[in-house]
Symmetry: C2
Subunit: 152 residues, 2 copies
C-alpha cells in the first residue's frame, strides 16, 4: 500500500451549512449529487452527509446516538480514502489489511459511479476506503485531481 | 486559508498496536515521544494517544464514553492540521474561522515544541489544528516534510 491519502471525507449533518463554513475559509469546491469536493493540494477534502457516508461505508451505527457500527466500533464521521489504479490493487490492499487485523465493513464491490471500492476500519475504528475510481485522475506521484464536473 | 492539509492525526488507544497495524500496510514512520509520524506524500499521518490528542485539542469529552467536548460536540478522534508560516498567520486563520462560526476549543498559544498553535471545530465538530511549527519544513507548494528526528 503506497503511503498517501487521496480524499478526506467529513460527514456532515447539514451540507449547506458545512459548505458555507468552508467557503468562508476560502475552501471552495464543486458540488455534485449533494457532495462537495474541494481540491487541497494533491488530495481532496470532501463534505458528504454523515448518514450517507456511514451507510456507504457499511457502518450503520454512529456514536452520536450511542449505538455502534460493525466490529463494535462507532463511526468517527471521518473517512480517509486511498485511491489506486486497478480493481486488482483494491483487492490486494484489502488482503493485506485483513491479514493485519482490519475490520472489513464493506468488501470491495462495484460502485454506482463505475468504480470499485471497499471500506475497512483500523484497530481504533478509523475508517479507510480503498477505491479504484476511473473518473479521478491519479498522477504518477499518487496525487489526485478532482475532475471538472461541469464538463464530465 | 490555503487549501491544504498538513497532518492527519488519528487518536489511538494503543500506540504499539496501531503502529504494528500500519507497518503491516507498509506505512512506516518515525516514533518520537510516543507519537508516530508517517510521511504520506506532502502530508503526514500521525498516530497519537487519543486521550493526549483530545487534551491537546481542548476537548476533554469523548463520544466513546458518552460525554461531550467543547461546544457540546464529541471528539471524533481525528484532527486535521493545517501548518502555516508564522504566528501571525495562525491568528489570521483563527479570526476568519471564528467569524465563520467555528468553535474555538483552544486559542492559539505557544507550544512545548517551540511553535504556536490552536484548535477549532467546524460546525459538525470536526477538529482542525492551525499551527506554526518551525521544525517542520513547509515547501512553497504547502507540502510538509517530517524531519529526521534522529538528527534533530
Amino acid at each position: 500500500m503506497e503511503r498517501r491519502v487521496s480524499l478526506i471525507t467529513l460527514g456532515v449533518a447539514d451540507l449547506k451549512r458545512a459548505r458555507s463554513f468552508y467557503e468562508q475559509l476560502d475552501w471552495v469546491g464543486q458540488e455534485i449529487e449533494e457532495t462537495i469536493f474541494i481540491q487541497a493540494g494533491g488530495l481532496a477534502l470532501v463534505l458528504w452527509g454523515r448518514d450517507k457516508l456511514a451507510l456507504d461505508a457499511g457502518l450503520t451505527g454512529d456514536r452520536s446516538d450511542g449505538s455502534t457500527g460493525a466490529g463494535g466500533v462507532g463511526f468517527s464521521g471521518v473517512v480517509l480514502a486511498h485511491n489506486v489504479r486497478s480493481e486488482a490493487e483494491v483487492d490486494a490492499v484489502f488482503a493485506t489489511a485483513a491479514a493485519a487485523g482490519a475490520t472489513v465493513t464493506k468488501s470491495p464491490t462495484q460502485t454506482f459511479y463505475g468504480g470499485y471500492a471497499g471500506y475497512f476500519l483500523d484497530p481504533d475504528g478509523h475508517a479507510w476506503e480503498i477505491a479504484y475510481k476511473p473518473g479521478f485522475a491519479l498522477a504518477a506521484d499518487g496525487s489526485i485531481t478532482i475532475p471538472d464536473f461541469t464538463t464530465t
